[in-house]
């Protein structure tokens, strides 16, 4: 049990569609980060949310957006899907911005066809 819950586990979407991925952080954690992991690569930082605000952002286009709710859960939205968006999307929660490491969820495997 990772402590971080992500849904759905797998998703197939058509190019041009929009997708929403969800994450519930580990109990007690207040910060949620999203990462994209392509096959055979390390995770790439998308953005981080803390106190319902986007605190930091990686090199991803505006098609990628997110939200954090008062209960610390978070959503990742991707608009106008491209084939290259196919990847494992990982949510990582932490306390105090990750000073003590991150707890990753099992991820959502997104396939864009």
């Amino acid at each position: 049990d990772a402590g971080v819950t992500q849904s759905p586990t797998h998703l197939i979407k058509t190019r041009g569609q929009q997708v929403t991925l969800r994450c519930s952080p580990k109990s007690g954690h207040d910060t949620v980060s999203w990462y994209q992991q392509a096959l055979g690569q390390g995770p790439q930082f998308i953005f981080q949310y803390y106190e319902e605000e986007e605190r930091q952002r990686g090199n991803f286009p505006d098609r990628f957006s997110g939200h954090q709710f008062p209960n610390y859960s978070s959503e990742l939205n991707v608009n106008a899907l491209l084939l290259g968006d196919s990847a494992l999307y990982l949510c990582a929660s932490s306390l105090n911005g990750g000073v003590y490491g991150y707890t990753f969820g099992s991820g959502t495997r997104l396939t864009v066809v």
């Binding site: 055979g40 390390g42 995770p43 981080q48 930091q56 990750g98 000073v99 490491g101 991150y102 990753f104």
Partner: protein, 113 residues
């Protein structure tokens, strides 16, 4: 931009042999974190090193942080089949203590029984 590089990319060992993966950052890091990802799984936090020259042990795993805080290593003594997976190092972006982590591309370890 800031980069974290790992070598080797792959390592195949016989069970009982030792294994080492090396991590090098293009910039000085405030800390370095290590994660393990089993095949089909998600990254799991192993350890964080903060001090220059720090050495930490977890059973058969030994982690080192270089004196210049730009490199690190993970050494596994007497590998077991349970050690199979990809080992990632990750450092904070621009040496900040919060937010974005830059991951290496990982070292995938295969252990032959």
């Amino acid at each position: 931009g800031q980069q974290v590089m790992q070598i080797p990319q792959y390592q195949h060992v016989q069970e009982g042999e030792d294994f080492t993966t090396y991590c090098n950052s293009s910039t000085t890091l405030s800390n370095i974190q290590w994660y393990k990802q089993r095949p089909g799984g998600h990254p799991v936090f192993l350890i964080q090193l903060v001090k220059s020259g720090e050495v930490k042990k977890q059973k058969r795993l030994t982690f080192q942080f270089g004196e210049a805080k730009k490199n690190s290593s993970l050494h596994i003594t007497a590998t077991q089949t349970t050690d199979v997976g990809t080992y990632f190092c990750a450092g904070p972006y621009l040496s900040s203590n919060t937010g974005k982590l830059i991951f290496g591309q990982g070292t995938t370890l295969q252990v032959k029984p």
